[in-house]
Structure formats: C-alpha cells, structure tokens
C-alpha cells in the first residue's frame, strides 16, 4: 500500500449525495480478477456516452461533457470533494481501487458509508469527514476558483485552504499510523497469533459446536 503523508492536490467537486459504489465502478468491471486497472472505468456510466465493457480501450471513447470530472480544469485532480453518504451500497473494494487508480488520494465529505470508509484505509486513500457547513463552503470556493488546491497533512490532521484557513480533522490513531507507513494489517495481526490461539482454545470448550 502506498503510504500517505501529505499532499498538495487539485480539488474536483462532485455535487451529489449518496454516490454509490455501483456508480463509482459499475458491475461489469468487477469480473476482473486483478486489483489494478480500474481507473479508466471510474464513474464509467457518468463519464462516457457509450456503454463500457471490460477490456475496452477508453482513450477514444466518447466522453460526457456534462460530467464534472471531464472538465479541463479538474484534470489530474487528486482530492475529491463530495456530499453525504459517499460510497454507499455494495462492499466492492473495486470502488477505492478505481478512485486510487484514477489518481485520487483523499476524499472530503460530510459522511461516508461504513464499508467504503474502511476499504479506503486499506488502499492508501484518505477519507476525511468534515461538517456540512465546511463542505458547503469548500464547494463554493472550488467552483469560484479554477486551479483550487488543498494541502492535506495527515500527521497534523489538517486541511489548509489557499487562503491559509486551517481545518482540523479527526482520524483513528491506529488507522493513521498504518496509512502513514503503508503498513499491511495482516502482518500486524499475526503478531497476536498466540492471543488468537488462546481465544480459540477457550472457545473450543465454551462453544464447541463452532469447532465441530
């Protein structure tokens, strides 16, 4: 996993609530058995005018000029500004894989769906929850100013606007540590192998039917 320390990133505003993981990466692309290559199909149904299929060469597909991420000023954005309940629906980790592969490193929203939120941290993608009023204001600033960038510092847990306003955010300490260092959860968990085995030994007696 790519570590996340800080970024100075161009912001793209996606002004709709309840953006679901079916929209982030439509089902036909989930047939892949790989973890990579989903970026060209991120938001496929909104982004292109034709029907997307796995294995397509996307560079020459007709793009939807009305979709915000297709506007010239938001090309190479690495921060996604979003609305409530971002990432709702299916548990597909292909959604953060697609967003990360597209080039996003951080997502700012008033709230996230639970499974999506968890999945982001496993993939070097930082989801940041900010108050609705703050998000509203950021939308206005992004719309008003081409080339709008935010500084996001994970160590300091701050988002800094071009005007110098510093917005603090919270993040679970353990998740922060793993994200900063690009650490693999499994290696950490396996340090507790003895505790897992001790738990199993106890449960084999307490709840033997789960081990039959």
């Amino acid at each position: 996993m790519k570590p996340f320390t800080s970024i100075h990133g161009l912001v793209a505003p996606l002004d709709r609530a309840n953006v679901d993981t079916d929209a982030i990466i439509p089902k036909q692309f989930l047939k892949s058995i790989k973890r990579s290559g989903f970026g060209p199909h991120a938001f496929d149904e909104w982004r292109y005018l034709d029907r997307g299929e796995p294995g397509m060469e996307c560079a020459h597909r007709p793009v939807n000029p009305d979709f915000i991420l297709n506007q010239a000023r938001y090309q190479r954005a690495s921060v996604l500004l979003a609305r409530e309940n971002f990432g709702c629906g299916s548990s597909r980790e292909h959604a953060p894989w697609a967003l990360e592969d597209y080039g996003f490193r951080a997502i700012l929203a008033p709230s996230f769906a639970d499974i999506f939120f968890n999945n982001c941290f496993k993939n070097g993608l930082l989801p940041i929850v900010l108050g609705s009023d703050v998000i509203d204001r950021l939308f206005l600033e992004v719309w008003a100013c081409a080339g709008y960038r935010l500084d996001i510092d994970l160590a300091a847990q701050t988002v800094t606007t071009p005007s110098g306003e510093v917005i603090p955010f919270t993040v679970d300490g353990e998740r922060k540590h793993r994200l900063q260092n690009g650490l693999d959860d499994i290696a950490l968990t396996l340090q507790y192998t003895d505790e897992i085995k001790a738990y199993e030994a106890r449960r084999r007696i307490e709840a033997a039917w789960l081990f039959a």
Binding site: I33, R92, I115, Y192, A207, L210
Partner: protein
C-alpha cells in the same frame, strides 16, 4: 452483577480476542462466506505473501454473482465471467475449502445457502465480501459485509479489527395488515431514517411484529439493514430461530446441539439494556411500499403519488429528487399505480427464499384463475430461486407450474438481475418491478429503472402491467402459508 447488555453487546463481547485502548478490538470470525467476485484478489494476496489460510473449515464458498440463470449445460459464455468462476474453483481446491460449484444442487446465493445449510448459526460472527451479509443477523448472529482486503485478512488470521458501533433498536409492534410483508417494513424504515440513517449503528429489530415474522421475513429485514447504512442488522434468537436451524446439514448435533440451543436462548437484549437510538413503528399503519427514485429512501406507499422536488426538505435533496425523476422518466404527481413496467424480477438475496416464491406463486395462481397472465406490455417476468434447494422445494410444491402457467420464466439460482453481472439485465429506459434491494442508477443495467417491491407486489405488477395495491386482490394466504 453485570450491567444489562444489548444483543449486540453480547455478540461483540463473546468475540473479542484483543482490546486496544483506543476502542479498536480484534474480533474473532467464526464463519466466512466466499463468492467469485470479491475473493480472487484476496487469494492472490495470500499467495504473493506466502501466507497460509488460518482455518479452512470456517469457509463456505459458491459462485453466485456471475452464474447464468438459464442454459447451465452450456457453461458460462462470457469468457471474463467464466475465468472468475474458474478462479474461485481453483482457489477453493488449492486451499481445501468447501465449495458448492455451479453444477452442485446446493449452489445458490451465499446469503441463502448459509442459513439453508446450518452454516449460519446464532451467536456466531459471520462475514462475507458482500454488503448484504447483514442478512445473517436474522439468526442473532453478528454478520457484516467486508471488502476484499478484509476477506484476505480473515482468510489469513481468522480475525478482523473493528470499532464497536452504537446500538439502535427499531421496534415494530402491532399486526401487519394482509399483503404487507417484511420487505415493506424494511423499505418503510429506510424511508423514515434515510439511507445514511443507520450509519455508525448496529441495528436490532425487535417488537411483537418482528417476533411474529418467519425466519425468511427476518432475513429480508436484516438484509436491507445495509440499505439504511447500518453496520449490521439483527434479531434476537427465539424458538423460531432454533427450530429453523435444527437438523440442517451443518447444524450442531447430539450433546453439542443441547449446549448450543441453551446458549442461543440467551441471545436477546436484556430487559433494561440501553440503546443509543430507538425508532418505533406501528405495523398496523404500514401499506405495501414502492420505491420511485434512485435510492431506497425514495420510497412511498402504493397509494401515493410521485413527489414534487419543490417539496424536498433542502437544496441537496431537491437536486437529488430532480435528477432521480429525470433518470426514472417520471413526473411529480403521478400515482404509483399508474406506472407501467417492462420487466419483473422476483429473486435476489432479499426475496428469493421459499416463502417469497410462495407469495409470488399465489399471485400467479390468482392470475390463472381469473383468466389472466403476465401482461402483454411486460417483456419478461422472471423468477430466480435463491438456491438449488429452494428451487427443488418450490418444484416439489408445484410452484414452478403456477409461474409457468401464468407466463413467468422459471430460472436457475443466482444473483441474476439484482446486479446484472450475468446476462440478465435491463436495457436503457426499461422499467422493472424488482424484489431486490437497490434501485441505484444502472444497478440492473445501464439506463435501467428499478422499483423495489415485495414478491407479491412484483408478481401483481407483472400480471397487470403496472403497479397495483396487492391488497385489492384479496389474497389471504400471502404470508407463505403452505397449501
């Protein structure tokens, strides 16, 4: 004396392997369902890191998302989908996992076969790389969906790092009116609290109405808990729960059974347990529900009219409603019962169990008895059983003949048009009465328009060609009563 605990507290406490000071806990996972779509990268991760699988016996695997629902003998035509299913077969063989392959009579949707096999047990923790894993909470289990990285984590360690959620009680009391089902309760709850209303919560469904629901009904309800954003849905164990599990292939036996059943009877919230949020609902006020938009919270009673965006509570919602109406090809003020459909889908992990099929078949029999069949404007009305065993049971009861006589198609088990990963899908602009769980844009096929309803409501819409109030048919045995 210990303080009163919720069912969620009890399930949580019994599975903590290690507690960190920041509130994170390492939870032990008893059961793991695996399917072809969210697992290949997890197995690949294990191989690349040279890690072993912790405990193979906790896994049950089956292909369900990609499998065809007709012409199984021909195999999977789509080469990419076929590779994914073959990859699951190969991974299960390599790691020695129990898999019901596509040609196995027990194959089906993961969330149908787990309970059916007695693999899902009260008091257990159960995960799957699928959001609708909340279904299994119907058995007083702690069950939730996870991503592929976590699938790999569970395969390698049998554990997951979790933050404990808050506890919500959705208490439903009173008697449901005829024709109103668990699906309608689920949709009504989501309509009330919104698709993010359950975010951060584990939801317990309680009250006299819930206690009177069949296990199938409880599964439908817990299945939809994720559509309210909840981490998990659950129902206390009772004699119904225990009777459902007894005698199933993987259920405990002999002395284990007695010990297990005694423990399961303790799996309910204590009398004085405190919930962080309580929502009360009067079952007698509920009508059959129909979604009108592109989020499950955009839902109405069948007697209602499509809402006007001008009446939306705020600007963000107003824009959402406008976009939803445009996508759905609907105008404000149209009565739900005036909306004509092109297709009907009866199936999915929400509504493909025997009781669901009985309710739909009841409508099919009504149609034949009244000289009707699937309406001429309906291009396809398909019934997709949740598993091979559900299909066999339905055929033993003759339900397939009822469906076929009324013009419905009778298919092979799988996820099918709930998410349209296989060939079953809506074409752009097509409108569907669907018993599935999500009406998102493009969910059932790019440009497809989904209305979520109960099985009897979907079957009736197929017969009339438009939505009808199922109560007008005066069917008195929709509750899945055996003939």
């Amino acid at each position: 004396m210990t303080s009163p605990r919720t069912l969620y507290d009890k399930l949580w406490d019994a599975h903590v392997v290690r507690q960190e000071s920041n509130g994170t806990a390492l939870l032990y996972i008893d059961r793991h369902l695996v399917h072809e779509v969210t697992s290949p990268q997890a197995f690949e991760g294990l191989r690349l890191s040279g890690r072993k699988l912790w405990r193979a016996k906790t896994v049950l695997a089956t292909p369900d998302h990609n499998v065809p629902t007709c012409d199984r003998a021909a195999g999977i035509v789509d080469a990419v989908a076929r590779t994914q299913v073959e990859t699951l077969d190969a991974n299960c063989a390599e790691y020695g996992l129990n898999e019901f392959r596509m040609d196995d009579s027990r194959q089906g949707i993961v969330h149908v076969i787990g309970p059916e096999q007695g693999f899902t047990l009260p008091g257990a923790t159960l995960v799957c790389g699928d959001s609708h894993t909340s279904t299994h909470g119907a058995f007083a289990a702690l069950a939730f969906g996870i991503g592929t990285s976590e699938v790999e984590h569970v395969l390698a360690t049998q554990c997951l790092w979790q933050q404990k959620s808050q506890a919500m009680l959705v208490k439903v009391d009173g008697e449901l009116r005829g024709g109103v089902t668990a699906k309608d309760i689920a949709l009504a709850v989501i309509g009330k609290i919104g698709t993010a209303g359950g975010t951060g919560y584990a939801v317990e469904f309680g009250g006299s109405t819930i206690r009177s629901l069949s296990m199938e009904g409880r599964m439908t309800l817990c299945n939809m808990a994720i559509e309210a954003g909840a981490r998990a849905g659950m129902v206390a164990a009772d004699e119904n729960t225990i009777a459902y599990v007894e005698g199933r292939p993987q259920a405990p036996q002999g002395a284990d059974w007695e010990q297990a059943a005694a423990y399961w009877r303790t799996l309910h919230s204590d009398l004085d347990a405190v919930f962080d949020r309580v929502l009360e609902l009067d079952a007698a006020t509920l009508s059959p529900q129909v979604t009108w938009g592109t989020s499950p919270e955009m839902v109405l009673s069948v007697e209602g009219q499509v809402p006007n965006p001008a009446d939306a509570p705020d600007a963000v919602k107003r824009a959402d409603w406008q976009r939803a109406l445009a996508y759905m090809g609907l105008s404000a003020g149209v009565a739900i019962t005036e909306i004509a459909i092109d297709k009907a889908f009866i199936g999915s992990c929400t509504n493909s169990r025997i009781e669901d099929l009985r309710a739909a078949a009841c409508v099919a029999r009504w149609a034949v008895a009244h000289g009707r069949r699937v309406a001429s404007n309906v291009k396809l009305a398909m019934v997709v059983p949740g598993s091979g065993l559900v299909k066999a049971e339905a055929e033993e009861e003759g339900l397939h003949r009822d469906f076929l006589a009324a013009g419905f198609e009778w298919r092979e088990p799988g996820c099918s048009m709930c998410l349209a990963m296989n060939a079953d899908r809506l074409e752009p602009g097509e409108r569907c009465a669907s018993t599935s769980n999500r009406n998102f844009e493009g969910r059932q096929g790019q440009g497809g328009r989904t209305h979520l309803v109960s099985p009897a409501m979907a079957a009736a819409a197929a017969v009339f060609g438009h939505f009808v109030d199922i109560r007008d048919l005066k069917l008195d045995n929709l509750g899945g009563v055996r003939r």
